[in-house]
């Protein structure tokens, strides 16, 4: 029994849903358009609701009649065998558990580079007006495609991997946002570069609150409660940045709030019901032409919900990539007590804000290649059964490699919270009213790590001691032993193990003090196709958690000895005086 791996590349591009010169389309003249923005002769009428999906495969045997032409405004072509088609990945990685300082919340972006040779093309599909054109020269696909599409916004690459005999629906697929298309060059080669869609969220232009050009129209006093501003960006004065009913803004070092906005015409707006000197700042006078900047403020909001708001409302990432139900279930179950009240008084990149929110909200996010979503996972022990990798059945010969990273050891964590003034430096310790910390003295012992390894967190999104304690505890749980990283190669039978997944691994590199192989739990932080459909490389990080998360059970629930595995996993039972359960496992943690 054998399988034949196959990789199919699909380029999805938007197109106009109208027809040249018909209905709402006012275009005239020639040549007729190709339903693309670049070739449109009446852009004021352009309707971008259409699309087309171009499909390619490396020139190989097979029948690839996977076209779908049922919707003429959104067709998908048959798969075109193309010489020298290659798909190369730069693997992304997860910034695991706790989101350490200096690393983006988004981890390392994964990138795909697709190279293929240009090929003769007769427009038998994709051109609504082929019958009306005459004297067309011999032409090539990418030659005319690049002439018809000068921009790549809102274009996506979808990579299907599967086996001969499968339909497209049976294959796995990953989606990437097109970043650039180069060529055809002198060797007729075209290169498409695309990145996972989190690129859209991590882009430098994604800021919260947004930059804006809003200025005072006159000098104001420190007590004035009606203020006039001048701007061409009127909607930003009432746009939601956060979840407050009143609107917050900053002038100089002062934060104020206002209740309503009236458009006075000619770009002048009147802000009424102003409350001056808010959030620990001092009311002050202001000069004509002084900058006026909206602030983002969330009040008593689950910290994970702030992350959701940032991702969906303040980046260009399409919202359908984020499943709020999944985030809510995860956050509602494991992070219910982590709530934040925070204010951001000047435009900051969403990527940086998400770094803080993930770290202080005790969760992390990544791009799920095959789920094609951005899942959220709390920093917690895994629930339920996990996959198992062993030397006998899974780990490929000669592929496992164990590394230790003592530089990532953390022995003490300090959380500065209760920010005094949102306009002052966020990394100045004196700008916080409380510092909470924990030290693992045993680990710092001269016979152990021989000294402290400190992590300080300036937590704008933390307001309570309980929140601060949870942060320190979860980080130390994960990092108070030298983190270990394991790289293995596995067969396609284990290719469901992608970034974020947890597994138990037994390998000769992991033994106890007496040399016996031990089971350890790991999390996939990076994943790569070595040979598509055949061999995959997994980078794993230790996933050590002590204890289980407890939850109240019904009055008629059984004792621990009589409980099912599911009841033990989802419920809670009193531990013995030694902190252990009757079967010797660790006790439950009340949060």
């Amino acid at each position: 029994m054998f399988r034949e791996p196959i990789t199919i590349v699909e380029l999805e591009q938007p197109r106009c849903a109208l027809r040249f010169g018909e209905g709402a389309c006012t275009a005239t003249g020639s040549p007729l358009c190709y339903n693309t923005w670049t070739t449109c002769r009446a852009r004021q009428s352009y309707d971008g609701a259409g699309s087309i999906r171009w499909r390619f495969v490396q020139d190989r045997p097979g029948l690839f009649a996977f076209g779908d032409f049922s919707d003429p405004d959104n067709p998908a072509t048959n798969v075109v065998p193309v010489p020298t088609l290659s798909v190369d990945y730069t693997k992304g990685s997860l910034n695991a558990a706790g989101v350490l300082e200096g690393k983006s919340a988004f981890g390392v972006r994964s990138e795909v580079t697709i190279t293929m040779a240009d090929f003769p093309w007769d427009d038998h599909v994709g051109d609504f007006y082929i019958g009306s054109r005459s004297n067309l020269p011999a032409r090539t696909f990418w030659g005319v495609w690049t002439a018809r599409n000068a921009f790549y916004g809102n274009m996506f690459i979808r990579v299907y991997d599967g086996y001969i005999g499968q339909s497209l629906a049976e294959m796995r697929s990953r989606v990437y946002a097109v970043d650039s298309i180069d060529g055809p060059d002198s060797s007729k080669s075209v290169t498409i570069t695309a990145m996972d869609p989190l690129m859209l969220a991590a882009a430098a232009g994604s800021k919260c609150p947004e930059s804006m050009d809003v200025r005072l129209t006159e000098d104001i006093s420190a007590s004035q409660t009606t203020i006039k501003v001048l701007t061409t960006e009127g909607p930003k004065l009432t746009k939601a940045y956060g979840n407050t009913i009143r609107y917050f803004a900053r002038i100089g070092s002062e934060v104020l709030s206002y209740a309503a906005v009236t458009d006075l015409g000619d770009g002048t707006f009147e802000l009424t019901g102003c409350l001056r000197g808010q959030l620990g700042t001092v009311a002050a006078t202001g000069s004509i032409d002084a900058a006026f900047q909206r602030c983002a403020r969330w009040e008593d909001t689950p910290t994970w919900e702030i992350g959701y708001d940032l991702m969906t409302n303040h980046t260009s990432l399409p919202s359908h990539f984020i499943d709020h139900d999944q985030w809510e279930e995860e956050g509602g179950t494991y992070l219910p007590t982590l709530r934040s009240t925070a204010t951001i008084t000047s435009p900051e990149s969403v990527a940086d804000l998400m770094g803080e929110v993930c770290q202080q909200g005790m969760f992390y996010i990544w791009w799920d290649d095959y789920g094609q979503t951005v899942p959220m996972l709390a920093v917690r022990p895994p629930k339920g059964a996990v996959a198992r990798l062993t030397t006998g059945e899974n780990i490929l010969a000669g592929s496992s490699e164990l590394r230790r990273q003592p530089d990532s050891l953390i022995t003490r964590v300090f959380v500065y919270y209760g920010q005094r003034n949102p306009t002052a430096s966020k990394t100045e310790p004196t700008n916080y009213s409380v510092v909470s910390g924990q030290i693992e003295a045993d680990v710092e012992h001269p016979n152990a790590a021989n000294g402290p390894r400190e992590l300080s967190i300036f937590a704008r999104f933390v307001n309570t001691e309980a929140h601060g304690v949870q942060i320190t505890q979860r980080i130390l749980n994960r990092y108070d032993e030298v983190p270990r990283f394991l790289t293995v190669r596995v067969d396609a039978q284990d290719r469901e193990l992608t970034v974020g997944k947890v597994c138990d691994v037994t390998t000769r590199e992991l033994v106890d003090s007496e040399g016996r192989m031990i089971d350890m739990r790991w999390q996939v932080i990076s994943w790569e196709e070595v040979k598509p459909g055949e061999v995959y490389l997994l980078d794993l990080q230790t996933y050590d958690y002590v204890g289980f998360f407890a939850a109240w059970m019904a009055d008629d629930s059984p004792d621990f000895a009589d409980a099912t595995d599911e009841q033990r996993a989802d419920g809670a039972f009193w531990a013995g005086d030694d902190g252990l359960m009757p079967d010797g496992s660790h006790g439950y943690l009340w949060q």
């Binding site: 054998f2 045997p61 076209g67 032409f69 899974n394 040979k531 055949e534």
Partner: protein
Amino acid sequence: MIILDPLLLLDGSVNHPVICAYPMRGEIVASSAAPGFDAAFAADTSTIKFWRPTSLPATWQLTPDPDLSYLSQEDDGLVLQEDEGRIILSDGLVLSYVGLAAHDLAANGVTVAVQIPGGEGWQTLLSHSPEDNSPILFLLAAREIETVRLQFTGPDGLPTVGIIMMGEATVFPQQTSYVGRRDIFDGIEEEYSTTLSEGGNFIARYVTRKSQTFNLTVSHISEEWKRVQLDPLIEHLRGGVAFVADRPWRAPRSVGFGQLASRPVPERDLPNARISVTVSMDFIGHVS
């Protein structure tokens, strides 16, 4: 698979190699066609365009246009007339082969029949229910036709067909050499890889590369046959595709569909004009 007209068994050249090219062109009518899977696509020599009906039974009919098709070949050496770049040897549209490739008939349990008008309806000349999706070549006793159709029948699955070609086969005057020959389907080359666990267990096996090449070598061809038949055929195959069968009767599975890998150069081995020429033709095959 090659399906032989029983009448050919009376022909002494039934086991001679054939190259089926020179496709007829004309009006195409199908019983139905799914959106994006036009009937005309099957007559295109590209294997990235397909015809697919929307229901069974389905028919695909060609009424050849003499102005667009290659007309009958004759093997008694008439002087060639060249008209607009086509080889016209005599009048009449002669059918002696029907070929299908780039199809999934076997996967859908579909039977295909070659039919011509007969009586009050259509007469089935040959039919076949393929067991795999390899090329199908019907070889018929040559006859002049005005129209011909294929009928597809089956239980459920709708077939997809990339290539339908019809026309007159070029039958070589000699059989292929037996020694050194290999069946066309044996020309499918595969490379494999196997994943092996750390503990020494075989986990899985994969086909990493697959392709098909095949060769047709015929010796003892006369100078006249070379001039009248072989040279025009080579010229046509420079830009065309063909079905190739090297021993139609004795090796019915030995048929391929493809293009020349390089331009063949006929050579002379013997100082006798009636049997002097040898030609070796390498093809790149299409594998479904």
